[in-house]
């Protein structure tokens, strides 16, 4: 998000989901959309059915690559050279949108100098993508009247994640594919309310609506609005929290339903951090790996048991409605927080989430026009600056949020950890269709359908270590180890292992690297080195087919 915020002034998806079926060119990179965002994936397939050209860049063969007009199978971690290479070709062929560059952007000369070094020959060598495919991709994207870029964690979950994002922003601005329908840069947000959590300022550097905590005007506004003295320095990001805990700087953690042991990289480091705390409160639905370490567990309510709103990936604020009473003694999370706050001297007096939304609207300019009545049926896409405003379908029309779009000159950096002689296999992680996070393991149907990890390994690598399809193998990195079942498939190229993070029996984040992006501190989930060997069927799998 920081990447797009730097380039455009706003980090959200520029366009709307329902623009997809009528798009003519879709450029998808680092996104297994049909599995991670199935409805968006289906809309992409609808576009293909209507004749859209689909360019997919992914090291893995996924459903989208089968349906693509063109598939660029670049090596993991080579997104920046790939995009720079495409821009090199675009400039060489004169396919850039000079009028757009002139009128709407700054920093173009720096970009031009950088990408000059990314010749097709060099890029083909680094990325493994043949030159003619680079040309074809550049042509399809740049010569389209309108083209949209989509990406997800395959782009961001790298130490160079911000660089990757800014490269894509460069590509879009270079060709003028910005600020209109069916043209833009669209990060597909992972969780149901990751957009909303950011919007609400659940970030150490901003208040709701991305208002900086270090901006004195903003600081004064919130002190007044909340009637409290507020801190004006940046807080800890997640990796800082676990580092701080290990170092003794952080003493207590209030965990609001996250399970960082399973979902954050380098699980052993996370566990160690959590164990170092004096006090850990976890508000949860299930006894997660993290909850097991808690001093107090406060039982929250599921989304069906409470009212509220989620903000989806296209910035649409939509209602969550209470369908049933909270189970047992559970309480909606907003009530729990309120009660804790009030016991610590706060003065939180909300009778219903609608009242909280009213307060949000009063302090958050992009949510100013939102209330429960207005979003009752269709929701509203922020920015909604006033009660009269009908929401914003696509961003940056006529003008970027930051004024001029900023070209950044980005160079290729190696991942923090690449495969080597000792750990020769590149481990990359992602999602699959049948589970979401770690919660769907509690759905009987989904669990029965997809009960355990099926790590994807190329048959050649399988043959090397003597595992057959359906066997189990041992995977070890510098940080940890696990046992997983194996699916031999040429969906992954030789030398690459793919796993998901849904299964606590094969906890992939025991292996992943805790190194993170220099700006956003997003972990490098997508690349680390591991070694593999055949394993016996583990105890937890004795029931498996």
């Amino acid at each position: 998000m920081a990447g797009l915020a730097t380039s455009f002034g706003s980090g959200a998806m520029t366009n709307s989901i329902n623009e997809i079926p009528d798009s003519k060119v879709l450029f998808v990179i680092g996104s297994n959309t049909t599995e991670a965002h199935p409805i968006i994936g289906a809309k992409m397939l609808q576009a293909v059915r209507k004749g859209a050209q689909l360019v997919v860049c992914d090291p893995r063969a996924i459903e989208l690559t089968e349906r693509a007009t063109l598939w660029l199978r670049h090596r993991p971690g080579t997104d920046v050279p790939l995009i720079n290479g495409l821009m090199h070709i675009i400039l060489k062929e004169g396919w850039q949108d000079s009028a757009f560059i002139e009128a709407r952007t700054e920093g173009f000369e720096n970009l031009r100098k950088t990408v000059a070094n990314y010749t097709p020959d060099f890029v083909a060598k680094v990325t493994g993508v043949p030159q003619e495919k680079l040309y074809e991709a550049a042509r399809i994207y740049a010569t389209a009247e309108r083209a949209q870029i989509f990406y997800t964690l395959g782009i961001t979950e790298h130490t160079c994640g911000t660089d990757n994002v800014m490269s894509l922003a460069n590509l879009a601005m270079l060709t003028g594919n910005m600020g209109k329908e069916n043209a833009g840069v669209n990060p597909l947000r992972g969780q149901n309310n990751v957009q909303g959590a950011c919007d609400m300022g659940a970030l150490p550097n901003v208040y709701p609506g991305y208002q900086s905590v270090v901006d004195p005007v903003v600081h004064a506004k919130f002190e007044k609005a909340w009637g409290a003295k507020l801190d004006n320095k940046l807080g800890f990001m997640i990796p800082d929290m676990f580092d701080g805990a290990v170092e003794g700087k952080l003493r207590a953690l209030y965990d609001f339903g996250e399970d960082p042991i399973l979902t954050d990289a380098d699980a052993n480091h996370v566990r160690k951090g959590l164990q170092s705390l004096d006090f850990l409160v976890v508000q949860e639905l299930f006894m997660s790996e993290t909850a097991k370490l808690a001093d107090v567990i406060l039982p929250g309510a599921s989304f069906a048991e409470k009212d509220g709103t989620f903000t989806n990936t296209e910035r649409r604020v939509q209602r969550v409605r209470k369908a049933i009473e909270p189970l047992g003694n559970c309480k909606p999370d907003w009530q729990i927080i309120m009660e804790v706050a009030n016991r610590m001297g706060g003065n939180f007096n909300y009778r219903h989430p609608a009242e909280i939304m009213a307060e949000i609207a009063s302090v958050t300019p992009s949510y100013a026009g939102i209330d429960y009545d207005r979003i009752d049926n269709d929701g509203l896409q922020w920015p909604v600056p006033s009660k009269e405003h009908s929401g914003t379908k696509f961003l940056h029309a006529g003008k970027f949020v930051r004024g001029l779009g900023l070209f950044q000159s980005i160079d290729y950096e190696l991942p923090a950890e690449s495969p080597d002689d000792e750990y020769p296999i590149l481990l990359t992680t992602g999602r699959m269709l049948y589970h979401y996070g770690v919660m769907t393991r509690n759905s009987k149907g989904l669990e029965a359908y997809s009960p355990e990890e099926m790590a994807e390994l190329n048959p050649l690598d399988g043959a090397n270590i003597g595992v057959a399809d359906g066997d189990y193998m041992h995977v070890q990195s510098r940080r940890g180890q696990l046992v997983t079942r194996v699916k031999l498939t040429d969906r992954v190229p030789p030398g690459v292992l793919f796993m998901t993070h849904h299964f606590l029996e094969s906890p992939v984040n025991e292996l992943t690297n805790g190194a993170s992006d220099k700006v956003t501190k997003t972990y490098e989930y997508k690349i680390c080195g591991v070694k593999i060997s055949k394993a016996e069927k583990p105890d937890w799998a004795q029931g498996a087919k």
Binding site: P459, D469, L488, T489, D490
Partner: protein, 164 residues
């Protein structure tokens, strides 16, 4: 989709598979190629085995359900092995009025199989057909490519016996 092709297993490539590969290569770039591919493939295999349909679907990028839909729509395609000799009894109008039904009945008795079935020794497959277009010779049957006309029930035994 993982490909378990014969070459990888170090086995001799199956000549039928090679033939299928040639058919697919010939038609891959042509639009509307599914039916000719199925026809030529059935020439090679005698019928259309499931794994062959999967390969055709994959190579022609046509969903398997659509391939299956086409195969089951047309009378010409068969999902199960067929007899060495295909006996087609014409039940067209002209043959009907000249006793085609009796011909079919007699052949059923003779071969011990019903319309649409294949004998256990795979010698014969019996089918009825709407019209061969040899109405002048009614009643007619076709055995493989040969047409036999002006039939009476007592001629049938001798005709069928010719086909091993």
């Amino acid at each position: 989709m993982s490909c378990q092709c014969a070459v990888e297993d170090g086995l001799q490539p199956d000549p039928k598979e090679i033939k299928l590969g040639e058919i697919l290569a010939k038609y891959k770039q042509q639009k509307g190629a599914l039916i000719p591919v199925l026809q030529e493939t059935q020439e090679v295999y005698g019928y259309l085995p499931a794994e062959v349909l999967r390969r055709i679907s994959f190579e022609l990028k046509i969903p398997l359900s659509k391939v299956y839909g086409v195969v089951t729509f047309y009378a010409q395609f068969h999902l199960n092995p067929r007899g060495r000799n295909i006996v087609r009894v014409c039940l067209g109008t002209a043959c009907h009025v000249r006793g085609g039904a009796k011909i079919l009945e007699t052949i059923q008795k003779e071969l011990g199989i019903e319309d649409g079935q294949t004998s256990e020794d795979l010698r014969y497959t019996l089918e009825s057909i709407a019209c061969i277009g040899a109405c002048g010779l009614a009643p007619v049957i076709m055995v493989n490519e040969d047409t036999h006309g002006r039939l009476t029930p007592d001629k049938l035994g001798k005709i069928l016996a010719q086909y091993e």
